[in-house]
């Protein structure tokens, strides 16, 4: 699919991170300093074993009996290091949080902007929910992980390194013994990770099922009640909830086994240290303090393993989310602004009324698919009002999307302009010029949760409330807007829900009116509008389209009747063209459409004569 989002399923976590770092320049800034602090931070973890060794070997078993001054000095020095560590870790954490949150905010905003550039947003409306997740929960998950797991990961790694170095300084033989004990665990961790990935994957899937079931019971509330299928719905819900529960328990079992494996290896390492240490000590190669210090150091090896088993699930979630965000970011928009992509060739539209020309235009939604439009070749003169009619799926919406450059044709080209000022290929027109001069009023005139005036201003920022009121007046909607609770300052609610569908259309028309385009593309609403509003709407549309080139995707033939010209689309081809009067009398699809529609509107069982 041309609109599909690229996917890199088989990619490893490291590759994702590399890809991510490339796209998050903020992330690299100041990272070396953060890692330097992390190294200091781990120092705090080894001072205690060192202190233990010093106190036992030099403080208590000193040559001249217990040396309490030395003990005091060692302890105070180590305490100072511990306090210093607190400061270092705090500084590191704050730096890390600030860098990652800044980087993630940047990622979030870039992804948001990029999604707007992708045609998938308007092509596949059912995928909007998942696109919202790309800029919300996916990034949230990354941020949560960075605040918990990210820090733990950095510290754990540093801890392993520093502990090994200290061990090696004390006794290379014992270090070898400890490492030998942990090598099998390090190998096993890879296997554990794969296992954990599987069980957590199942849990995630089940969460999705639960969500789907819950959403059915909520969104379908009236259907569930009207059809008395509460028990059936409850059974579905309970099954989803139960399956989710069982997957969670299974995942917990695996996580717990991984967790304790570290504990077991630590015990084995302790035994090995005691036995080997004692044997080495017989030859005087090792002091009691060193041996005890080793036992303390072994605990430092255990916690990274346990931490890993804890954060692995979060890490996988975070990486998977990260990958999804990056995939969206890496998807090339199929329609790009020439002013950005290739500024040298970008052009402005001529300042004359705009005509439309299709040159052998074919469009397929996917390569190899049945063409939605096939070899359309036509010209529409400036200032004509054209209605496009045809059955659902005939290609009339595709036509509109090509004129507004929401998509580019698969073959052929679309041009705007006229014979005097010249024709400009649409894909060369800078978006700033295109969006200024060509405006589309979509089927559901979407409104933002703001005032009526704000929504109208969206068509032209900077208008005052009085300008908006005047616009409504010019459209013949002055009385309607005055009748609203707060006039133009009335809040329309989420998605404009405080207004009826028809009233939302009125605001959308006003919004297009203040945008003052030269070429207007209207996708007529199909939703039910009460007749009084319908009348207002028709009137306002007449005012709006007056003097502008207008293409209307007509779902009602009354619209076609009022147009200068009608294009009849059937199976991707323009099969008829002419005025309503001409077409009604001609043999052909238009006459048939008209007859059947007249019959249904008039409520007469027999075809009208």
């Amino acid at each position: 699919m041309t609109t599909a989002v690229a996917e890199h399923r088989e990619e490893g976590a490291l590759a994702t991170l590399r890809r991510g770092l490339r796209m998050m320049p903020e992330f690299r800034r100041g990272l070396p300093a953060t890692f330097a602090l992390a190294l200091v931070a781990t120092a705090g973890r080894v001072v205690v074993p060192i202190a233990v060794q010093q106190v036992i070997d030099r403080g208590l078993a000193g040559p001249g009996g217990p040396d309490l001054d030395l003990v005091r000095n060692v302890v105070l020095l180590c305490a100072a290091v511990v306090v210093l560590t607190v400061v270092a870790v705090y500084r590191m954490n704050v730096r890390l949080f600030r860098t990652t949150e800044t980087a993630l905010a940047g990622l979030r905003v870039r992804a948001f902007r990029h999604v707007h550039d992708l045609s998938v947003l308007h092509q596949q409306t059912q995928r909007r929910g998942s696109l919202v997740s790309r800029v919300t929960s996916d990034v949230d998950q990354l941020s949560t992980f960075m605040q918990w797991g990210g820090v733990l990961g950095v510290v754990s790694l540093g801890q392993l390194i520093v502990a090994t170095v200290v061990m090696a300084v004390y006794s290379w033989q014992l270090t070898l013994v400890v490492l030998l004990c942990f090598v099998p665990l390090a190998i096993a961790v890879r296997f554990f990770a794969a296992r954990l990935a599987v069980v957590h994957g199942v849990v995630r899937e089940r969460v999705g099922d639960v969500l789907a079931a819950v959403s059915e019971s909520v969104v379908g509330a009236s259907t569930v009640r009207a059809y008395g299928i509460r028990e059936r719905t409850a059974a579905r819900l309970d099954r989803a909830i139960d399956r989710h529960y069982r997957a969670q328990v299974r995942a917990q079992r695996v996580t717990a086994s991984v967790f304790v494996s570290g504990e077991f290896v630590a015990a084995v390492a302790n035994v090995a240290v005691v036995v080997v240490g004692v044997l080495l000590g017989l030859d005087g190669d090792i002091t009691p303090g060193t041996l005890v210090a080793f036992l303390f150091l072994v605990t430092l090896f255990v916690s990274p393993v346990q931490t890993a088993s804890e954060v692995l699930n979060e890490a996988q979630n975070a990486v998977a989310g990260f990958r999804r965000v990056l995939d969206v970011l890496e998807t090339e928009p199929d329609v790009r602004d020439p002013a950005v992509a290739d500024p040298a060739t970008a052009r402005q539209l001529p300042h004359t009324p705009l005509g439309v020309r299709f040159e052998h235009v074919t469009f397929r939604y996917a390569p190899g698919a049945r063409p939605a439009l096939l070899d359309v070749d036509l010209e529409i003169a400036p200032r004509r009002r054209v209605a496009i009619v045809g059955e659902t799926g005939s290609g009339k919406t595709t036509f509109a999307k090509l004129v507004t450059r929401l998509m580019d044709p698969s073959c052929g080209r679309v041009l705007l302009g006229d014979d005097d000022a010249g024709w400009v290929p649409l894909d060369r027109v800078a978006f700033a010029s295109l969006r200024r001069r060509v405006v589309m009023v979509p089927q559901d005139g979407f409104l933002f949760d703001a005032t009526v005036a704000d929504n109208v201003r969206y068509g032209r920022p900077g208008l005052s409330d009085d300008d908006v009121r005047a616009a409504f007046e010019e459209l013949g909607l002055g009385d309607w807007v005055a009748g609203l609770v707060d006039g133009v300052a009335t809040r329309v609610g989420q998605r404009g829900e405080s207004l009826s569908a028809g009233e939302r259309q009125l605001v959308a028309v006003a919004r297009a009116y203040v945008a003052d385009p030269d070429l207007l593309v209207l996708d007529e609403a199909t939703s039910a509008v009460d007749p009084a509003t319908e009348r207002r709407l028709t009137h306002a549309l007449d005012r709006l389209t007056d003097g502008r080139t207008t293409l209307t995707i007509a779902h009602r033939l009354s619209t076609a009747e009022r147009a200068d010209e009608v294009l009849v689309v059937d199976a991707g081809r323009v099969v008829q063209r002419g005025s309503h009067a001409e077409l009604v009398d001609a043999e052909g699809p238009y006459a048939r459409l008209h007859a059947s529609w007249r019959r249904s509107s008039a409520g007469e069982p027999q075809p009208a004569g």
């Binding site: 902007r113 919202v132 605040q147 909520v218 967790f259 017989l282 303390f296 969206y458 939703s527």
Partner: protein, 596 residues
């Protein structure tokens, strides 16, 4: 401020108690396992001390050891470790099961309420909120349960440790008595500082999500008006606020984490300092010193578990506070005991003095609505937008109950009918169609045992049989979430078939063909009219909310609704002649449609 904190702590403890009361068995098991772990942790420190005293020091200082001594040391260390591991396993498994059971149980209760509560309740609550109540809020409510037994075990462990310390050396015990309370104080300050910050971050997350939702829904408007930059600015502002909020959260956590780690370390150092003096005085032996120092190192993690529980309690309470109103909501639709007349033909319908007002609305949606529908007749409800037509449609099939007045089915008040009786007799096709993520067949039958030929017959009446036949797997084709794979008109027609297949005695169509082409709508209406006759039965009673003349013309009688009142009744022609408002409305619509 302190009083508020007390309240949070008290409520938090009550919430912890609730978890324990709901899952006493699992909690006990997890707690016992956790105590075993705690005991063995202390034991492992003592074993280490003993091994130091009896094996390591003699061997290293005097150069004597024996295979027996080494074996004993090894088996003591391993034995304690194995018991400790069993403790960990038990603790984690039982604590996990406890938390997951609570989650599942509350999810069942919440969704049970969703199914039980009346539609009027649903209308007052946004979908998004109900989804998160059942999902993330329930999860947040019980998140703290996972480390809870660990934390309780840690308390036990601290008790044992203090006792052991006192028994070993009161001076060393003093260290514990300073460090442990300090840990609790730091924890308390942490949750105090954290909870408002977390709440703010959560709030900002919701706002960011709202903007993304709205902006993406508006994609076509944004794009065709070239307003991407405006939208990005709007989003950036909130995303940056969220970033600052999260950094504020991180600042607190960033200080708390190292502090919690430093406290046991400082404790160990204090033990060394004091202990060395005691050893020098000959009061304590080096082994005891080692074991107590080691103990402090081991205690670091369990002590943090207490912190995890405390830190999570505010979030848990916030989540639970959002779940409770759902669980406590009342207004369950009470059902009577009457059985509807088991007639085969259309049901008689009576609407008597019905008032209905939405909560918080200034004027009633319906007032004093009274009319009768004779069995087998068809009535069209016509009225301007906002006149209460959809509300009336819902009342007829008891999706909502009237404030005053009654709706009678064959003379029986709907509220007196037994549960399931109304849906057995009446079917409604609502304005917004809803399809389940199921097959076409499943969506039509809704689990009832209906032979395929009847399903096809219903699909034919709804003029969607051709569409279904062309689907890859016919009746067995899955329609996707909310019927995503079908067009709006196709979804409406399948919903219509769902109603028709039940052969309802009362069929209520609430503008149920709005997304269907007029030509197709005409076919459906013809079929609906002819359908009962096909089965040689008396026709169903049909109430239809309509705009199109074709639909209205089908009706035996028209009910003219304006401002929530029935202002006129009669035939289409009668109303046209007598009611100016009706005539204006219908003609206006006819003009836009026919433009004659």
């Amino acid at each position: 401020m302190p009083r508020r904190r007390d309240a949070v702590v008290r409520r938090g403890m009550r919430h912890v108690g609730r978890a324990i009361v709901e899952q006493p068995g699992m909690f006990t098991l997890a707690f016992l396992a956790s105590s075993l772990y705690g005991g063995m942790t202390v034991a492992s420190a003592y074993v280490l001390g003993e091994v130091t005293d009896r094996v390591v020091l003699p061997a290293l200082d005097d150069g004597v050891t024996s295979a027996g001594a080494l074996t004993l040391a090894a088996s003591a260390i391993l034995g304690v470790a194995v018991l400790k591991i069993l403790g960990i396993l038990g603790r984690r498994l039982f604590a996990g099961v406890m938390g997951y059971r609570l989650q599942a149980e509350y999810r069942r209760r919440v969704t049970g309420q969703y199914l039980r509560l009346p539609l009027s309740w649903h209308q007052r609550h946004p979908t998004g909120q109900l989804l998160s109540n059942a999902n993330s809020d329930v999860e947040a409510s019980w998140f703290f349960v996972a480390p809870l037994p660990f934390a309780c075990g840690a308390v036990v462990m601290i008790g044992i440790t203090v006792a052991a310390l006192v028994a070993t050396d009161p001076w060393l015990a003093l260290v514990g008595l300073v460090v442990f309370p300090l840990v609790f104080v730091v924890n308390a300050v942490y949750s105090q500082e954290m909870s408002p910050r977390m709440r703010r971050a959560q709030q900002l997350r919701a706002e960011v999500s709202e903007i993304a939702h709205e902006s993406f829904d508006a994609a076509l408007v944004v794009k065709t008006l070239g307003r991407e930059d405006v939208e990005t600015r709007r989003f950036t502002e909130r995303a940056e606020e969220l970033r600052d909020g999260l950094v504020a959260v991180g600042r607190v956590r960033g200080l708390f984490d190292p502090l919690m780690e430093a406290l046991p370390n400082l404790g160990t150092l204090a033990v060394l300092l004091i202990g060395a003096g005691r050893v020098a005085d000959g009061v304590t032996d080096p082994g005891a010193l080692v074991s107590i120092a080691y103990l402090f190192t081991l205690l670091a993690l369990p002590i943090r578990a207490i912190g995890w529980v405390l830190a999570d309690l505010p979030r848990a309470l916030a989540g639970f506070d959002r779940v409770t109103p759902v669980l406590d909501a009342t207004g369950e639709t009470p059902h009577g005991t009457e059985v509807a007349v088991a007639g085969t033909g259309g049901a008689g319908l009576g609407v008597r003095g019905v008032d209905y007002g939405f909560e918080g609305a200034t004027r009633p949606t319906l007032s004093g609505v009274t009319f009768d529908v004779a069995p087998g007749s068809t009535v069209a409800v016509v009225g301007p937008t906002g006149s209460g037509k959809s509300t009336l449609a819902g009342l007829l099939v008891r999706l909502v109950d009237p404030g005053t007045g009654e709706v009678l089915l064959d003379g029986v008040d709907l509220r007196a009918l037994r549960e399931g009786e109304v849906s057995a007799q009446a079917a409604v096709v609502p304005q917004g169609t809803f399809l389940f993520d199921d097959t076409v067949r499943g969506n039509v039958t809704l689990g009832a045992d209906v032979p395929d030929d009847e399903v096809w017959a219903a699909l034919r009446v709804a003029a969607v049989d051709d569409v279904v036949r062309r689907l890859p797997e016919g009746l067995d084709t899955r329609v996707g979430e909310r019927g995503a794979t079908l067009s709006g008109g196709q979804r409406q027609r399948i919903a219509l078939a769902r109603a028709v297949v039940r052969r309802p005695r009362l069929l209520v169509l609430d503008d149920a063909t709005s997304a269907v082409d007029p030509a197709v709508e005409a076919r459906i209406l013809d079929a609906l009219r002819g359908h009962p006759a096909d089965r040689a039965e008396r026709p169903s009673t049909v109430v239809v909310v309509a705009y199109r003349q074709a639909t209205i013309a089908l009706a035996d009688e028209v009910v003219w609704l304006e401002g929530g009142r029935v202002l006129a009744r009669g035939s289409h022609e009668q109303l046209l002649a007598e009611v100016p408002g009706y005539a204006a409305l219908v003609r206006a619509y006819a003009q836009t449609e026919v433009a004659a």
